[in-house]
């Protein structure tokens, strides 16, 4: 239908012409309008306390203590149950967060500005590996780290980023793809490239050598530091493509450990949800699928712009790591995603595919027609709060999200069966 093709062309134009720049790091309460006390943003589509999974509840209890809204974890849980907190998706506030994705006013957030359209997107700083709040961790060690991020690293990063005048992110992505990153499970190259840019700025804006050393050490030891940057970048790229009448392009995919939600450009801010699926992958020693938490996180936003599982051909090593087959099968993932997307991205190309760009612009019509749903590379959390990552794998977006979206989309255009 002509109207749809025109609308989709516009959506792709906006998606591909973005200019995402890391411009600042500031407390979420300063950056995000309307984010106040007792307001807890989480990953995924809207969800009530009763339906939340273990790690998400654990994280909420922890942040309630961190922000001083609860005196201890038990009190945090009681208050949550009593409705003392306002739970909303990060996506409703121009933000994204990995795994539990908890965002509250004191936490420092990365600020990415899309200079082509003027919009901004936010994501907290990646806590690192092990026992962390994004896996539902909430003990003293976790909260102490959050405090250090709030009081030391966040402000230091803010000063450093401002000193650079802003760090353009598209070139980092392009280089990372040529170095084996896909920006979801594998960010080590981009993390390293970003640190090379940040280090001199951190040094110039630091007054304390020991603090500087700790900051550099923290970032340098975290292979996944860039994930949160990539996520906020992806949201900044997709937001201008929201709400284009007649467009069947997906503008968001996210999960909260219970529900998977998508948004489609032509149907505005409506969430189309279905139960999340279980990731299929490889587990660290000592863990099996029985220990796994259902899929969660806003990180599927990177697949929404053609990275992650969509760019698997750039990161063959990841294929084996997530148990998805031999490394030589990586290209097949990218080719499969090519069947459900509008076009390839000329700026983000994959050497192994002779410079073919990452597949971009998920079209719900193609998803329903081919039966191919988006694949998402993901970490697997333990179902008990606070244990941490127990493996990595591939998860599929549930088809019912797309069939529901298709029906609503069609009805809006006056097309019925």
């Amino acid at each position: 239908m002509e109207k749809i093709e025109t609308a989709n062309a516009e959506a792709l134009r906006r998606l591909l012409s973005g200019d995402p720049v890391l411009v600042d790091v500031v407390p979420a309460g300063e950056a995000i309008k309307g984010l106040g006390k007792h307001h807890i943003l989480h990953a995924g589509p809207p969800i009530s306390w009763e339906r939340m999974c273990g790690p998400l509840r654990g994280a909420i209890m922890g942040i309630a203590v961190f922000e001083g809204w609860a005196k201890d974890l038990k009190d945090g849980a009681a208050q949550a149950e009593a409705g003392a907190f306002r739970f909303e998706p990060n996506h409703h506030y121009d933000a994204v967060g990995p795994m539990t994705g908890i965002t509250t006013l004191s936490q420092p957030v990365l600020v990415i500005e899309n200079r082509s359209f003027g919009n901004r997107a936010y994501c907290a700083i990646n806590e690192g590996l092990g026992k962390v709040m994004r896996f539902g961790g909430n003990d003293a060690e976790v909260l102490a780290r959050l405090a250090w991020l709030r009081d030391t690293l966040g402000p230091a990063l803010g000063r450093a980023v401002r000193e650079t005048g802003g760090i353009p992110l598209k070139p980092i992505i392009a280089r990372g793809l040529a170095m084996g990153d896909e920006m979801h499970q594998r960010n080590v190259a981009c993390s390293s490239l970003l640190l090379r840019i940040l280090a001199p700025a951190l040094a110039r804006t630091s007054k304390d050598g020991e603090v500087l050393a700790r900051c550099l050490d923290f970032i340098g030891k975290n292979d996944q530091f860039f994930l949160n940057v990539a996520m906020a970048m992806s949201k900044a790229l997709t937001d201008p493509a929201r709400g284009i009448e007649g467009s069947s392009v997906v503008t968001a995919m996210c999960r909260n450990g219970t529900d998977f939600g998508i948004r489609v450009s032509g149907t505005g801010d409506t969430w189309f949800t279905a139960p999340v699926e279980m990731p299929v992958g490889l587990y660290f020693p000592g863990y099996t699928a029985k220990d796994a938490n259902p899929d969660m996180g806003d990180s599927a936003i990177v697949e929404t712009v053609g990275l992650g599982a969509f760019a698997m051909a750039a990161a063959p090593a990841v294929v084996g790591f997530i148990g998805a087959g031999p490394a030589s099968g990586a290209a097949a993932f990218t080719r499969a995603m090519g069947e459900i997307t509008a076009r390839s991205n000329p700026e983000w190309t994959i050497p192994m595919l002779d410079g073919l760009g990452v597949p971009t612009g998920i079209d719900i019509r193609r998803v329903v027609e081919t039966g191919i749903v988006p694949s998402i590379n993901t970490g697997i959390a333990h179902r008990e709060p606070g244990v941490g990552q127990v493996g990595a794998g591939v998860v599929k977006a549930p088809m019912p999200c797309f069939t529901q979206a298709l029906e609503t989309f069609a009805a809006k255009l006056g097309v019925v069966c």
């Binding site: 660290f284 020693p285 084996g320 087959g325 031999p326 030589s328 099968g329 080719r335 499969a336 090519g338």
Partner: protein, 492 residues
């Protein structure tokens, strides 16, 4: 009492890929309760410790060292685990066969893989065939639709769209084509030559192309038009396009048109068009006589064999052997065909000789099965009623076994007529299959007359198939028409 054993491999780096998979393989060995293989970073050692597989030695490992850690039943299991671990780590990495070549799920994806494609061969269920064909046309591909059960209205719309785009639609229900020497779907390996064929029938194209090839001449192209192209409604869109193509093709010097009799108006236009050509035509309208005067460059053939003879300029070899007479009570001919056109041709020949014919696909003048007693029964085993839920007899000759056994046991049947169709798409050994199905037949019951459609270059090798049939006591005819004539003589 479980024991923990660690081994350190200094300076060996392997991707976490290989390590996790190897660890799983070790953990599956008998006597091994848990296994881990990780680089000795503090975080990884913590994971190994929590998994209960880290010992003192492993705890000393540095970040650049590989830790192999197992928790096992006894010392023997530990030794076996470590041996296997070393074997897995040291074996050379091999890429999976065929570099996991991607097979697209959509035509669009396929065109991206092969941008210079020029033909889409479509064999999806009939309801979906035209939608797929349209996708092909819109990407500049010519189309061959093998699928049948395509609504007539869709065929017309598609062919009109193709005509506007300057592209060819062969089909629907087009089982056979030969383009540039390449056999497509059910077709035979024939040498390149100067004879072009335009055919509304698959097995019709197959028999004519084989008879011409076996007679020493070659085929430039054989273009299928589908069974309904020459109806009033479709108006011969593909037929006319094909005639134009072959008329222009410098390699083609003689053109054969094969069809059942077309609609009157369409037939007139075909003749008018053909008359404009400088090239000689052979018009094979099975079982009919033309009612208009033929243009000078057109010869008429009433059977497929006659068409081949017109092209070759000589008669095909007649059957030389003796013809045994069946028992006096056994006067009926039973035809069991894989090819619909061959079945129609046989019906026409018998009818022309004044015989009563019944069939599941009766030609004009013949009746439906069961309508008459003491009629000669010609069955098209490839027709829908037989192939629902079962493979086509050309693919699986065993489909013919039961009707054949029934015919051979029927005392009223004096002769059984069969077609054996070779070529690409067909079963690898139809003759062998047939002979096995005959079992103890030889010398008892009805005679069997068969024609073999095929060439030496076909995968089944025509001469070897012919020999198997002849050795089994089957009478071999040079063509389907000849087989039918032989059967006629046998029961007269």
């Amino acid at each position: 009492m479980l024991i923990i054993r660690n081994e350190i491999r200094k300076g060996l780096y392997l991707d976490s890929v290989a390590l996790m998979r190897a660890a799983r393989a070790i953990a599956a060995l008998p006597g091994v309760e848990e296994a881990g293989m990780m680089m000795g970073t503090p975080a990884n050692k913590e994971i190994l410790r929590e998994a209960g597989v880290l010992d003192e030695a492993g705890a000393q490992a540095g970040p650049g060292d590989l830790v192999i850690a197992v928790r096992v039943r006894d010392a023997d299991a530990a030794a076996a685990a470590m041996t296997e671990a070393r074997r897995l780590l040291d074996q050379p990495r091999r890429s999976e066969a065929g570099d996991a070549s991607w097979q697209p799920r959509t035509l669009r994806g396929a065109v991206e893989q092969m941008p210079d494609a020029n033909l889409a061969l479509i064999s999806v269920p009939g309801d979906f065939a035209v939608a797929e064909a349209r996708k092909g046309l819109r990407r500049g591909l010519n189309v061959m639709i093998f699928s049948d059960n395509v609504p007539l209205g869709q065929e017309i719309a598609l062919k009109r769209e193709a005509r506007d785009l300057g592209l060819l639609v062969m089909g629907p229900d087009c089982g056979t084509a030969i383009i540039g020497g390449v056999p497509l779907a059910f077709a035979n390996s024939v040498p390149r030559g100067d004879v072009g064929i335009v055919g509304a029938s698959g097995t019709g194209i197959q028999e004519v192309s084989c008879l011409i090839a076996n007679g020493g001449r070659g085929i430039s192209h054989a273009i299928g038009t589908g069974g309904r192209d020459l109806t009033q409604e479709v108006g011969g869109i593909t037929t006319f396009a094909a005639i134009d193509l072959l008329d222009k093709d410098p390699a083609t010097r003689h053109i054969v048109l094969i069809s059942k009799p077309p609609a009157r108006e369409v037939a007139k236009q075909v003749l008018a068009r053909v008359g404009k050509s400088a090239k000689p035509f052979t018009l094979c309208l099975i079982g009919s006589r033309p009612d208009a005067a033929l243009p000078a460059n057109v010869r008429f053939a009433g059977t497929l064999a006659e068409a081949a003879e017109a092209v070759l300029g000589r008669k095909l070899a007649a059957y030389q052997g003796a013809l045994p007479k069946p028992a006096s009570a056994a006067k009926l001919i039973r035809g069991l065909f894989c090819g619909g056109t061959l079945c129609s041709e046989a019906q026409m020949i018998l009818q022309r000789s004044g015989l009563d014919v019944v069939s599941n696909v009766p030609v004009p003048g013949a009746e439906r099965l069961g309508a008459k007693r003491n009629a000669h029964m010609m069955i098209d085993l490839g027709d829908d009623e037989f192939t629902r839920g079962r493979p086509h007899p050309m693919i699986e000759p065993a489909t013919r076994d039961a009707p054949l056994a029934e015919a051979l046991a029927d005392e009223t049947v004096g002769v059984v007529v069969l077609d054996v169709v070779l070529g690409w798409g067909s079963h690898p050994d139809p003759a062998g299959q047939l002979v096995r199905a005959l079992g103890n037949w030889a010398g008892t019951g009805p005679m069997i007359v068969a024609s073999v459609v095929g060439t030496e270059a076909d995968p089944q090798v025509r001469s070897s198939q012919v020999r198997k049939l002849a050795d089994a006591g089957i009478i071999l005819a040079a063509s389907n028409a000849s087989a039918t004539e032989i059967a006629l003589q046998c029961v007269r």
